[in-house]
């Protein structure tokens, strides 16, 4: 049990439910890193809304504390955006897989980025539809044999981080499910970002993604902190290093624009109003408004 003034502890997010993910699934690390980031940012469970999409990540919805919502496939972003607009006193963190985000709900990704809603979005990119037993997604490598494309995928794989940068994303990060330490730091920075914080987690799927297992990533990833003088406010530079997804894969906070205002902060009618839309639900006199129809 947390309290309003206590220091937030890792076990505040404890759930007694047993994980149902496969052995070695990247989700274990992601879930642990998310808890660590929430603790590091001192957000108690009652001050967060964790919104989950449908997919393997969503099966973790009842294995963590906090207010949570487990919605429809592909729709977590508009749900989270609507929640964040209603109450800016709670942090909203949305999670979804590559299938949901880049196929069923790609319009939501586009518009959430463009609107710069104040939410953190963790994209679980494991390169396939795991829960439905291994169909190709938009990030499956070209040529891979998946169960609905037995002769090999003929579509190019999508570079999501670059796509979000092109849309004008204000925070674009990439991390790896095998590195809980880096993930925790990036999630923490994403939570602290005011605006749409996009985090792509390169996630191993030991059961269905044989092309890019844990070891494949380990051999290729590097952290942008190892690039001398790397300036993550330089979008051209960020685009350049985000491009390679085959040989040297950049992780870290690739791009960060701290000046871009989030959607709610720009609403003219909400300037100088401190209350939330949740606080304001009350019977309202409309006599003056009706009078204009005389």
């Amino acid at each position: 049990m947390s309290c309003d003034n206590c220091e937030v502890q890792y076990h505040d997010y404890y759930s007694e439910n047993i994980y149902t993910w496969c052995t070695n699934c990247g989700n274990y690390g992601i879930s642990a890193a998310l808890k660590r980031a929430l603790v590091a940012t001192s957000i108690p469970p009652h001050k967060v809304l964790l919104a989950f999409d449908i997919g393997c990540n969503g099966n973790g919805a009842d294995k963590i504390g906090g207010y949570r919502f487990h919605g429809l496939h592909g729709r977590v972003l508009p749900f989270a955006a609507g929640a964040a607009l209603a109450n800016h006193n709670l942090k909203v963190v949305a999670s979804a897989g590559d299938g949901a985000t880049l196929s069923e709900g790609i319009n939501h990704l586009v518009h959430s980025v463009r609107n710069n809603y104040n939410i953190t979005f963790i994209l679980h990119n494991n390169g396939n539809y795991g829960l439905t037993t291994g169909q190709a997604s938009q990030t499956t490598k070209k040529g891979e044999h998946m169960n609905t494309s037995p002769e090999g995928v003929i579509t190019d794989s999508m570079n999501v981080a670059r796509f979000v940068m092109e849309l004008g994303g204000s925070f674009v990060a990439r991390t790896f499910s095998g590195d809980v330490h880096q993930m925790s730091h990036i999630f923490e920075a994403a939570i602290n970002h005011k605006g749409f914080a996009f985090v792509e987690v390169l996630q191993s799927c030991p059961t269905y993604n044989k092309a890019t297992p844990h070891e494949w990533y380990m051999e290729r990833i590097y952290d942008t902190i190892t690039i001398p003088n790397y300036d993550n406010s330089n979008r051209d530079w960020a685009r350049e290093i985000a491009t390679d997804m085959e040989n040297k894969i950049a992780t870290g906070i690739l791009y960060h624009d701290k000046s871009k205002l989030d959607y709610y902060s720009q609403l003219p009618q909400r300037q100088d109003i401190q209350t939330t839309l949740v606080d304001e639900v009350r019977k309202t006199d409309v006599k003056d408004l009706v009078a204009s129809f005389r």
């Binding site: 009842d62 906090g66 949570r68 487990h70 609507g82 209603a86 909400r270 409309v286």
Partner: protein, 579 residues
């Protein structure tokens, strides 16, 4: 046949010619002349061209229906003349602005047979001669009609002055043109002379559309955010709400599609504000998965479904009441919901408040059915701002959170508290879940939760008010039953001599449906006439299904037009003599 005196005038032209402005200014003039008005718009799904009309029905009693026929027709385009000429009554008058207007042989015959007077007014030329612009031809026409109706020029000038106060340089010219038009006519046209009507104190009243009343009702009930995606006839809810945002602090979000709009709405409602999402049939189709989500997660959700004829794009700017089945059955799986149908500006204002209360009290999706005819109809109403309901949210207070969010209860309604409450967090889960929201696939648990949720429907049914009854059910020879805009026409039908022979049962709450009054007619179902603006009799089918008797006598209309007053009188009479 018409017991109440009624004057009908119609402005018609192409879209883009200012037909609506003419109609709105004239409606205001009629109201300010202490008469009742109801205005009805027809227009194509085009920015320019086609034919559009704005019809005013005027009476010395409150009216809410439109007639098929009119006595004065003012046309600014040839297509409008050919479309509407034969809606003129005997001794009616056509005013047009068209040089060398040619009538077909059939039209000439109609004009001769009905002693229709036609008059050419070169409004554009007159406006330019008076120093005005081409578009000020409309002011000439307003002046002409004001004179023909025997209305007060000073009142017209006052309305124009208020309407165009923001353009003072043009205002003087507008007024000159209106006076010029007024002076063109030598005398009042007896058929539309308003002196034949008794005066009431309507100048103190209001003219409001159904959509404006819905928006105001939602705001009165504490709605702080509106979501939608443009689609006729619901777009103007977003437009009007947006116009109020600076004054009220409400947020209006035009989403990228209807799925987004409804998802954002359920997100906002889950957090605990009041949100409303508005769409039409096609948009609601896209929303149905989320309606089902609201069902299982027991998240309040209110959706306004402004109906228009389908299938698919159908006739986008016309009216229908053909999405009742969609509202009742749209969405996969089985879960409780409520469907409320509005029938005029008053009910729009109050029922949206009911919808928000019910959605929170019962934690269910509520669909508010509107129709293009109501959404865009202009209603002459009294001060409805007092018709507010107390807000009912049924929230558990912070101190008393001791149970589970989805606890099984005798009413089916579980305690609900909002995210942010310290005591106990929970999961809103689209997967079947246990009382704490955690996932389950256990057979007994799933059945228990299905039963718990569906129990709310019986609880709700027990609390919904009876349908409204007009006339005397005991003595009536026949009983009409309807929902939605049927009431608008029936109100006026009941004021004719038919009123002594029939009674009318009107359902505001169409689902779940209260059958109490209708049980009395189970042994004489042929005495019941179900009147609906759709092809298959969707509400009659629901009643048949629930009551287990057949209602063969149905008056159905599905050509994009509402029930016209005199047409419905004839329909009922003919059904009475044939059954």
């Amino acid at each position: 046949m018409i017991d109440r005196k009624r004057i009908t005038i119609k402005f018609a032209g192409e879209s883009g010619q200012g037909v609506n402005s003419l109609g709105e200014i004239m409606s205001k003039l009629i109201k300010n002349s202490n008469l009742y008005v109801f205005a009805y718009r027809e227009y194509p799904s085009l920015i320019k061209g086609g034919f559009a009309s704005y019809q005013l029905n005027i009476s010395d009693h409150p009216i809410s229906s439109t007639t098929a026929k009119c006595q004065l027709l003012v046309c600014q385009s040839r297509s409008a003349v050919h479309e509407y000429l034969q809606t003129l009554e005997k001794n009616g008058k056509l005013i047009h602005t068209l040089t060398k207007l040619a009538f077909s042989a059939e039209e000439q015959e109609y004009i001769a047979e009905n002693a229709i007077e036609t008059q050419y007014v070169d409004s554009t030329k007159l406006a330019i001669e008076s120093g005005g612009s081409k578009l000020m031809g409309n002011m000439i026409l307003l002046g002409v009609v004001t004179k023909l109706m025997g209305a007060d020029l000073a009142k017209l000038e006052e309305i124009i002055s208020i309407q165009f106060a923001s353009k003072p340089d043009l205002l003087e010219k507008d007024l000159i043109c209106a006076r010029k038009g007024f002076d063109l006519e030598a005398s009042v046209l007896p058929a539309v002379d308003i002196s034949q009507l008794d005066k009431n104190n309507t100048s103190a009243q209001y003219l409001v559309t159904g959509n404006e009343a819905l928006t105001l009702g939602a705001i009165a009930a504490g709605t702080r955010i509106f979501y939608g995606y443009p689609m006729t006839p619901s777009s103007s809810i977003l437009t009007y709400a947006a116009a109020l945002s600076q004054k009220t602090g409400i947020v209006v979000k035009q989403a990228e599609d209807e799925i987004t709009a409804v998802q954002m709405a359920i997100g906002s409602m889950f957090m605990g504000t009041r949100a409303v999402v508005a769409t039409s049939g096609g948009g609601f189709d896209l929303m149905t998965e989320t309606i089902s989500l609201a069902g299982i997660t027991e998240t309040p959700l209110v959706c306004i479904l402004g109906q228009r004829p389908g299938p698919a794009t159908g006739m986008p700017t016309w009216t229908a009441a053909s999405d009742l089945n969609l509202a009742m059955y749209g969405g996969h799986g089985e879960f409780p919901r409520c469907v409320i149908a509005i029938s005029d500006a008053y009910s729009a204002f109050s029922q949206i408040q009911n919808a928000l209360n019910i959605s929170e009290e019962f934690q269910i999706p509520v669909i508010v059915l509107s129709e293009k005819h109501i959404a865009e109809g202009l209603f002459n109403v009294g001060d409805f701002s007092e018709m507010t309901l107390d807000i009912k949210r049924n929230l558990t207070t912070e101190e008393s959170v001791a149970t589970e969010r989805y606890a099984d209860t005798s009413s089916g309604i579980s305690p609900r508290w909002l995210p942010g409450v310290l005591e106990k967090t929970y999961l809103g889960n689209s997967d079947e879940h246990l009382e704490d929201g955690d996932l389950t696939e256990d057979a007994a648990a799933a059945e228990k939760m299905m039963n718990k949720r569906m129990r709310k429907l019986s609880t709700l049914k027990g609390q919904l008010p009876l349908p409204r009854v007009f006339g005397n059910l005991e003595t009536a020879k026949r009983v009409c039953v309807g929902w939605g805009s049927t009431l608008m026409a029936m109100n006026d039908v009941l004021a004719t001599e038919l009123g002594s022979e029939i009674a009318y049962i009107h359902y505001d709450f169409v689902y779940p449906v209260n059958l109490e009054l209708l049980r009395g007619f189970m042994n004489k179902p042929d005495d019941v006439f179900v009147i609906e603006n759709n092809q298959t009799g969707q509400f009659a089918n629901l009643l048949e299904h629930e009551l287990g008797v057949k209602f063969h006598n149905r008056i159905l209309k599905y050509n994009g037009r509402p029930f016209f007053f005199e047409e419905l009188v004839e329909n009922i009479k003919s059904l009475m003599s044939n059954s």
